[in-house]
Symmetry: C2
Subunit: 496 residues, 2 copies
């Protein structure tokens, strides 16, 4: 067998274990009975270990070494060797004892975080967070970096992204968004938020979510929609990308937009060719690019007036109380801006502030310029500065997110980057498909989907985010598209 064939066959074996692991994980959150949990962890542990061993095998290492020197590879193959090679070296750089030690400490930290959040007492979590920061700093040293240790961690979520680049992006964003938000709140006319409130039967919400997914082009012959406590999308394998969702009894928004959000993620993976599995590329380019796909479908499409013009009659079919509600009213209710305490509930305008604050804190924790003990104060100051709100307690403040208890520093920026990537893509999409709004208004989502497939989905992880954005838009990545998108949209909705 020649090297590239052996390489692909090795990656296919990894993909098979990955498929079993994805199913075990999906089932754990959807159908597994509670008494199955203990053994399930063991099964997942075993398969994870087997997959890890395949991922760091010498056989794979020497295939990567050889293929890196070859100049007869296809674009996809080259992208694969780069991506797989990077991952291989990162995994090899970390001593197995560290991995185990980290896993144990992480498990304890997560438990401590859950208790501390319940008691709303940062002090209970502090020593664990100290440890997590320590692990993350050591991890950065193992991985290596040129400039800032945080870069080494970012790389795991957003290949090619750096601390300096994030600062360059964030500065103009903040400078324009802070005054815009203030103007919106002071001079804007807030739409009526009540249109999406009421009592909504669960089974009908499920059918509506299904219909919304079908509308955007999600393929149910290659997927499924199941109930879950915290929605996620998972790729079980080629032809099997599943969405999960949850619903609120008294508000249509959370269940509906979460379905569109997960649907956006799912379209990405459904749009990847089966051949990407044998190349280790059947993932998004990065967490941020993945998030761009979910945000585009949820916000730029799903919270647009053309969308609601098309969807209002469908909504009324499911819930007759909407028969006389104007699309403009639904659109307004879907786009309320409200500085608030909780990131996951934030709107398009305020969301990025939550991330900016977390990024500042994370970078400081990792380079040592911020002490863990200062976090509650820094958090509350930041919330006041960005959003003008002050958390009444730690649970609604610094303890709200699970990420740090998992040692996942460098993850948060992806959420913000997703918004920015999506806006920059949208600029190009609107040039390429000038009648986009018209198509959406008449329920034709095919052109949108084929544009996304061609420009984003089909490439999987072959290109890093920066390259991908430049390939698609012809311009380097920057925040101006998002600023323009968000100020235009909300100036109109809030009648500035």
């Amino acid at each position: 067998m020649d090297t590239i064939t052996a390489y692909k066959s090795h990656l296919t074996e990894i993909a098979k274990l990955g498929s079993a692991l994805s199913l075990l994980g999906w089932d754990q959150h959807t159908h597994m009975p509670k008494k199955g949990v203990a053994f399930r962890s063991q099964v997942i542990g075993k398969l994870t270990k087997m997959r890890f061993e395949l991922s760091v095998s010498d056989e794979l290492g020497s295939a990567i070494d050889e293929l890196e020197g070859r100049d007869d590879l296809s674009d996809l193959e080259r992208g694969s060797v780069r991506r797989v090679g990077k991952d291989f070296r990162r995994q090899k750089a970390v001593p197995p004892e560290f991995v185990e030690e980290f896993a144990v400490a992480r498990s304890n930290a997560q438990a401590a975080w859950a208790k501390a959040r319940e008691a709303s007492n940062f002090g209970d979590f502090e020593p664990h967070l100290e440890k997590m920061v320590g692990f993350a700093r050591r991890l950065a040293e193992y991985y290596g970096y040129d400039d800032h240790p945080y870069d080494a961690l970012l790389e795991g979520f957003e290949p090619g992204m750096t601390c300096a680049e994030l600062r360059r992006i964030i500065e103009p964003l903040r400078e324009q968004l802070v005054p815009f938000l203030a103007r919106l709140m002071k001079e804007g006319t807030r739409p009526d938020a009540s249109a999406l409130e009421g009592t909504f039967e669960l089974e009908t919400q499920r059918r509506l979510a299904r219909r919304a997914l079908e509308t955007i082009g999600y393929d149910f012959d290659a997927g499924a929609l199941d109930d879950v406590a915290h929605p996620f999308t998972t790729t079980i394998g080629p032809g099997d990308v599943r969405v999960t969702n949850r619903y609120a009894d008294l508000h249509l928004g959370p269940g509906f937009f979460a379905a569109l959000h997960e649907g956006g993620h799912a379209l990405y993976n459904q749009g990847m060719g089966d051949d990407l599995f044998a190349l280790g590329l059947a993932n998004g380019s990065s967490n941020g690019i993945h998030e761009s796909q979910s945000r585009m479908i949820e916000n730029q499409v799903g919270r647009s007036l053309p969308f609601w013009t098309f969807f209002q009659p469908i909504l009324a079919e499911h819930f007759p109380q909407f028969a006389q509600v104007r699309p403009e009213t639904l659109h307004g209710a879907a786009n309320i801006v409200e500085p608030s305490l909780i990131r996951v509930e934030a709107d398009e305008v305020t969301y990025n502030f939550h991330i900016m604050l977390r990024f500042e804190i994370e970078a400081g924790l990792i380079d040592g310029s911020i002490a863990v003990s200062d976090l509650p104060r820094l958090w509350n100051d930041g919330m006041e500065r960005y959003l003008g709100v002050t958390p009444p307690n730690d649970a609604l403040g610094v303890l709200q997110d699970v990420h740090w208890s998992m040692g996942a520093f460098g993850y948060f920026p992806s959420y913000m980057l997703g918004n920015l990537y999506a806006a920059q893509m949208l600029t190009t999409l609107r040039k390429d498909v000038p009648n986009l709004d018209e198509l959406i208004r008449s329920g034709e989502f095919g052109r949108l989907l084929s544009w996304l497939r061609k420009n984003v989905h089909q490439h999987g992880a072959a290109y890093e985010p920066k390259e991908l954005i430049e390939r698609i838009t012809g311009d380097p990545f920057d925040a101006s598209h998002f600023v323009r998108y968000v100020t235009e949209k909300y100036s109109r909705i809030y009648r500035l």
Copy 2:
């Protein structure tokens, strides 16, 4: 690590792979989208191979050798070493090339069978069946046997069972059942079959099946109920034993009794201690013993008058049209005897005849006394002889079952043995719990379940069927209990 600890740890690793495989299989039939099928086969193939390698490893072989010589093992450990040792040697006895060749031929034979059945043409399947018989005969030689080659195949489904023993069991059964069926048909009064017919909303049938499962003691915290085309029960792991079911629109019977049937299987596995997984004993004693548990719950409990006396008001809660229907009417409709063409639709009285016919044919095919080309004739003669019906075509005759296309010779007798084991157990159960009918009439199933747990479930595969029956009943296995049960029950229902 001492040998017994290493042995258990090895079996636990096998159980973990088995758990992943069970989940992959369950999902394939319940939730997997159709486009996921190709890769799923590959994933299952990989894990199956890995499990096989662990099951025939030299490490396990020498542990078995050593443990077989030890006299300080517990009963369960001794049962484990015997069972695991037998399986180990059977797997080792078959050359890997044979396994692969058989797998390919089987896959072709199944496809050919499906087409032949659709065209109702035995001739199209005949060459494939020739091959399957050939493989089965070679398999018997690899496994080895003392008396009849069929014994080697039976051992895989019914440890300790032989062709001679089956003949000993069947002869008196046939001699008494044939005239009884004739009398029933001639002199009996057939109950009204229409009580369970009507139009039954799917979702309500699901709720009713759930309620029936809860009634018999199935633990939903350690299981789940899902829709499927062909109902089955599967053990994903300790604390996770799942039931699947299907429903008919116009008849309540199939969905309801299939749920009880699968529930009986599931109670068995839910009743096994978690420690059996590390001993390779978390299965039934045999296919037949497993079937005894499903048949007992489905037929001896679920089709009894005490059951319907208790359950009629619950049925009426779900389907109000039953509010005025007497338990006796439901009981009658649930116990219609009807010589018919199709095994899976057969009633308690006629079912075993379908098996006797298949057993005669299988034994003859394996010892060479019957030629494949004679099957349609032999089949139709047998149906006439046992049941007085003649299949109008091969699809409703010799081609109706999938088993032979899978090369699974020796499987059918387990279905019959299940009925007989259950009847013999019931004799003892009635002695131990004299007020059983009264308990069932008042909806108290706890005593029944604890009896089954103590006598059957908790042992898993520690005892072979023959031993287990003698342990439970104090008597050697024979068919008289079944004959008595079935003649008494149906004499009453048919007012002989």
